[in-house]
């Protein structure tokens, strides 16, 4: 290889060294600034401290949020109504584009399917597992295993499942993908999983459900622990079967938590990006809005289209958040 380290007289340490230096310098500089501010401020007069305390405690975070969140949000709002390099106003053209281009309509449809299926399945599964493990002995092992996907990255999950979905085009070679092998064992011919729509989108959705079920299980499981034993025992004495107990007691008592889990998962799913990017790159009609926003902005360098998609994403989140807040308010007034 002409570009090997030896040819350039370089080693990986030529990058790792300076990077570690950046890390140490960054941390030391930050600590030093904080330390000096505290040192100077705590020696200042009581009167000076009265305004110094705002400057040191409140201003940094507020300023960062103002410059890093508030300003960019407003700017994106404006850019959504401008052309690709933000030079001219184009009215609603970018939105008209988003709602008429067949490819983007596919993206919006896919996103809708994701937002519908992932929260539904993840919450239902999480609920079922939480109930089954609620009174189980040594449930921790079971719940840890199901919760584990929450700890790894979406990228890692993408690799794990891409391996499961591996497709072998050569009939005479053995399958290395588990799904293909199972399909063949059942006597069917596996399709090229990740290339064929609409099965590919559903397979990507399975990955997200695999990750989110653990979250639903943990949060709902915690809520179930708060259902008083006496209530459950009383129902038992009345002869309620497990299923009736679940429907009549557990479900109503954790209703608000279910809403929180559903809405949180929904918002998370609306923003899903990594899974699609890693597994299909958004090709083969699998793209979703967050991925398309990235592609339009940073691949096609069309800031108008990218911003419009970001706005659509945000507007999609709003009713869910509004519903959530309304629910929380209702709950608070009930108490």
């Amino acid at each position: 290889m002409t570009e090997s380290y030896l040819a350039f007289g370089k080693t990986p340490w030529d990058t790792i060294g300076p990077n570690l230096l950046q890390l140490v310098l960054g941390l030391v500089a930050f600590a030093a600034i904080v330390y000096i501010c505290f040192l100077l401020a705590s020696r200042a007069s009581v009167k000076a401290q009265d305004w110094l305390k705002y400057l040191i405690f409140l201003v940094p975070a507020s300023l960062l949020l103002l410059i890093g969140l508030v300003y960019p949000t407003i700017r994106t709002l404006i850019m959504a109504f401008m052309d690709s390099d933000s030079q001219q106003f184009v009215g609603f053209d970018n939105f008209a584009w988003a709602f008429t281009m067949p490819e983007i309509l596919t993206v919006l449809r896919n996103t809708a399917i994701w937002v519908l299926l992932v929260p539904l399945f993840a919450t239902a599964l999480g609920l079922a597992i939480a109930y089954m493990t609620d009174r189980m002995k040594r449930a921790a092992v079971v719940t840890s295993l199901i919760f584990m996907p929450m700890a790894i990255s979406f990228v890692g999950a993408g690799v794990i499942w891409k391996f499961v979905y591996d497709y072998q085009p050569n009939k005479f070679k053995p399958d290395i993908g588990l799904l293909s092998a199972i399909t063949k064992a059942l006597g069917m011919t596996p399709p090229n999983w990740l290339l064929e729509a609409p099965v590919n989108t559903l397979l990507l959705i399975v990955v997200m459900i695999w990750i989110q079920t653990g979250f639903a299980m943990v949060v709902l499981g915690a809520a179930m622990k708060n259902v008083p034993d006496e209530v459950v025992e009383a129902a038992m004495l009345d002869g309620a079967k497990p299923w009736a107990r679940f429907i009549r007691i557990t479900l109503p008592m954790i209703r608000s938590t279910i809403v929180v889990v559903l809405t949180t998962t929904m918002i998370g799913t609306l923003k899903v990006f990594d899974i699609v990017r890693t597994m299909t790159g958004g090709n083969f009609s699998t793209s979703v809005i967050a991925n398309e926003m990235y592609s339009q902005s940073f691949r096609a360098m069309d800031y108008g289209h990218g911003s419009a998609l970001a706005i659509i994403l945000f507007v999609g989140c709003l009713p869910i958040i509004a519903y959530n807040i309304r629910q929380l308010r209702l709950e608070r007034t009930e108490r």
């Binding site: 305390k53 409140l58 949020l65 960019p72 002995k137 890692g156 990594d274």
Partner: protein
């Protein structure tokens, strides 16, 4: 307690337990298959399913060695990205938590006009999706900020360093961190704060002597959360890393590997595991704190 135990005995249905165990096994198989494959020789991975490992167990560390240490200047080894992930993550956890704790302290205990408004705005900023800020924020890092001909922030020439990634993660982490830490800090008994004030402690001494030691559990919980979030993030690393390999974290690298050499499973399986090992260790050793953080975070509005 004994009532609970008794209830447990009656309630634990063998069918439910068996189903739960079955689901847990089903949930683990994909990861397990990848783990097994990462230790198989290249020829085995490409010519038989990982489940065949149990009939012909060949174990090798070759995949890990080659993905971690073999590479070139244009195609650096994963070890470099492993270091990068730490270089990205540690400051991206320390900075937002420090600044959030400061702001939470101010919002919880200082008396001033507009305090509730500021808190409500920060709380509300949680709903802003990262996507909504990406383009302007990136332009800010690469060009500075000029509003109406007035340079508010000059071009700082930090593209290609870790700084944009650190700052971006800090910004995105702040709203939730301020909200959670504020909730925690406002539960500190008023008498404690007032007693210290009467003793002549200034606002800065109060922070270092009372607030900081008391917030350790809350800081720990949120740190784990933010650590996993940053370590596993792809979008911020991809966007604010300036597209250069020198500062890219592991997630960016793995995603790139999937795209360019989708069939090199011997490197991908090992590489994916290298990227997962740190969060898995954090997760399994600190699961209790992680769950606590998750519960606090998910019950937000």
């Amino acid at each position: 307690m004994s009532a609970r135990k008794k209830a447990k005995d009656i309630f634990s249905s063998p069918i439910a337990s068996a189903t739960a165990i079955l689901i847990a096994i089903l949930w683990t198989i994909p990861t397990f298959g990848l783990l097994v494959s990462s230790f198989r020789p290249q020829i085995d991975i490409n010519h038989s399913g990982w489940w065949m490992f149990f009939t012909k167990p060949n174990v090798t560390l070759e995949n890990y060695a080659s993905v971690l240490f073999e590479g070139s200047t244009t195609n650096p080894p994963l070890a470099q990205f492993f270091v990068n992930s730490f270089a990205v993550t540690i400051p991206a956890v320390v900075f937002p938590i420090t600044l959030a704790l400061f702001a939470a302290y101010a919002l919880a205990w200082f008396e001033f006009k507009g305090k509730d408004t500021i808190f409500f705005i920060i709380f509300g900023l949680q709903i802003v999706p990262i996507q909504l800020t990406l383009i302007p924020l990136l332009q800010l890092f690469s060009k500075g900020l000029v509003l109406g001909g007035v340079t508010i922030i000059p071009n700082l020439h930090i593209t290609g360093t870790f700084l944009p990634i650190w700052i971006a993660h800090t910004i995105f982490g702040l709203p939730l961190a301020v909200f959670l830490l504020h909730n925690f800090l406002s539960q500190i008994p008023r008498e404690l704060i007032e007693a210290a004030r009467v003793d002549g402690a200034g606002w800065f001494t109060l922070f270092t002597k009372i607030i900081l030691p008391l917030s350790v559990p809350a800081i720990a919980s949120f740190s784990i959360f933010q650590f996993l979030w940053v370590w596993n993030d792809l979008l911020v690393g991809l966007t604010f890393g300036g597209g250069v390999k020198e500062v890219a974290p592991m997630t960016v690298r793995i995603a790139e590997m999937v795209g360019t050499r989708g069939s090199g499973w011997e490197l991908l399986t090992a590489g994916a595991f290298v990227s997962m090992i740190v969060p898995l260790i954090v997760f399994f050793s600190l699961q209790r704190f992680f769950v606590r953080g998750l519960l606090a975070g998910s019950v937000k509005g």
